[in-house]
């Protein structure tokens, strides 16, 4: 899963899609995940990074992570969602 390349995000959790003009805000963990996705990290690498810092077990992380990714896809912020549209 890849975020669309031109998605803009900031440390405050603000996310902006320049194609549609839509903007969103995420909590600090969401911001961190988006940052890691933008760096091109895969699911395993993201899990490793989050589990190291936060008190969360693998199963809970995976459930919440996939919920979050599904939401990003529904909001058309991911490359695959953009391709599906076409």
């Amino acid at each position: 899963m890849k975020l669309k390349r031109n998605i803009a995000h900031s440390d405050s959790g603000f996310v902006f899609d320049p194609n549609t003009g839509d903007s969103f805000s995420t909590n600090p963990i969401g911001t961190e995940i988006i940052k890691l996705l933008k760096e091109g990290k895969d699911t395993e690498q993201i899990k490793e990074a989050i589990v190291k810092v936060y008190l969360v077990d693998d199963a809970t992380f995976e459930k919440d992570y996939y919920d979050f990714i599904t939401m990003l896809s529904k909001l058309k912020l991911t490359e695959d969602a953009a391709k599906e549209k076409n």
Binding site: N19, T20, G21, N86
Partner: protein, 350 residues
């Protein structure tokens, strides 16, 4: 930096109201021009158009006859105004007045050397709402199915050709979404009472509305284009805030249209982008939109470019604009002395 050229520009559309005319934003963009030091002559139809009283933007205002009075009375009035103000360029901003101004363009240039940069009569006519389906076919652009109706008796049969909801539109202004034939009848009476016949029935398209403000040089080149998505819409369907977006397909569509129509002057494209990323043109406005100041904010001063084109200067097309720049409109109470209202009401100038 070379000194700014002094120039007198007459502008209409001073009605900065809840359904705003483009005059005030056009003037703001011109006042901030790096090329011109402008003196603005406002042309107003009503005595309560707010621009009349904005003395920091409008240097002098004259009342002009309503478009229904015809081009002869408009010409007579413009002759008088020109004798006092020496107008260099004129920028009309209302759909309903454009026909008269287009017809008078040559006369104004020859007799008074007043320049303008307006679409041709053919360009103006072919993009009219009733002609939009033909326009789409000719220029290979998708437009929603639409037809003209002239009587409420045409309404019951609409369900054979269209699927509800439908958009009921006036010839020049106003549009309402109708979910039932009864609602079509209500809007038919309301809109035709205000703007006359025909009424245009258009298939409602599901999707996101995106708009483009653009300017063409009349030779097929798109000098500038800025796409915007409305973020806050009033009950009249007007953008109260919007944001510039990065939509290359929309820009390509605008350039294609400019090339195909050889559009001359400012224009606004109103487009529905469906979930399948199909673009349907729902309207072309033959002048700048009321949100044109956003283009200036994004680095493309379209009104300034229009003046340069009107003066016969060569204008290099813009290749970029700022993405993610927003406008947020606001209302503001001007305090006006009764003397001023009295002057514009009785003398027709202020």
């Amino acid at each position: 930096m070379p000194p700014r050229k002094k120039i007198n520009i007459a502008v209409t559309g001073l009605n900065a109201i809840d359904s705003p005319g483009p005059g005030v934003p056009v003037i703001r963009a011109l006042k901030e021009s790096k090329a011109f030091d402008v003196r603005i002559i406002g042309l107003a139809y009503e005595t309560l158009e707010p621009g009349i009283y904005m003395h920091d933007l409008v240097d002098k205002t004259y009342q002009v006859p309503l478009p229904s009075a015809g081009k002869a009375s408009l010409l007579a009035r413009l002759k008088y105004i020109h004798s006092r103000e020496k107008i260099d360029v004129i920028i009309p901003n209302f759909d309903a007045e454009l026909f008269n101004f287009i017809k008078l363009a040559d006369t104004l240039k020859k007799e008074m050397n007043i320049k303008s940069f307006l679409p041709t009569v053919e360009q103006f006519e072919e993009r009219h709402k009733p002609n939009l389906p033909e326009f789409g076919k000719k220029h290979k652009i998708k437009v929603p199915k639409s037809k003209m109706i002239f009587s409420v008796s045409d309404i019951p049969s609409l369900s054979k050709e269209f699927t509800y909801p439908l958009v009921v539109k006036g010839k020049f202004y106003d549009a309402s979404v109708a979910y039932t034939p009864e609602q079509v009848a209500t809007y038919f009476n309301k809109i035709s009472g205000k703007w006359g016949l025909p009424i245009i029935i258009q298939q409602f398209m599901y999707g996101q509305e995106v708009n483009v403000t653009a300017i063409g040089d009349g030779r097929g080149n798109c000098i500038g284009a800025v796409p915007m998505r409305k973020q806050y819409i009033t009950d009249k369907g007007k953008a109260w805030s919007g944001i510039s977006i990065d939509d290359k397909k929309l820009l390509a569509m605008t350039s294609k249209l400019m090339k195909s129509t050889k559009w001359k002057g400012g224009m606004e494209l109103e487009i529905i982008k469906t979930n399948k990323e199909e673009y349907y043109l729902i309207e072309i406005n033959p002048r700048f939109p009321a949100w044109v100041y956003l283009a200036k904010g994004c680095g493309q001063n379209h009104p300034e470019a229009l003046v340069r084109l009107a003066l016969g200067e060569k204008v290099k097309p813009w290749s970029k604009y700022d993405i993610g720049k927003m406008f947020v409109r606001y209302s503001y109470d001007l305090i006006v002395e009764l003397k001023e209202f009295e002057k514009i009401s009785t003398l027709g100038e202020l």
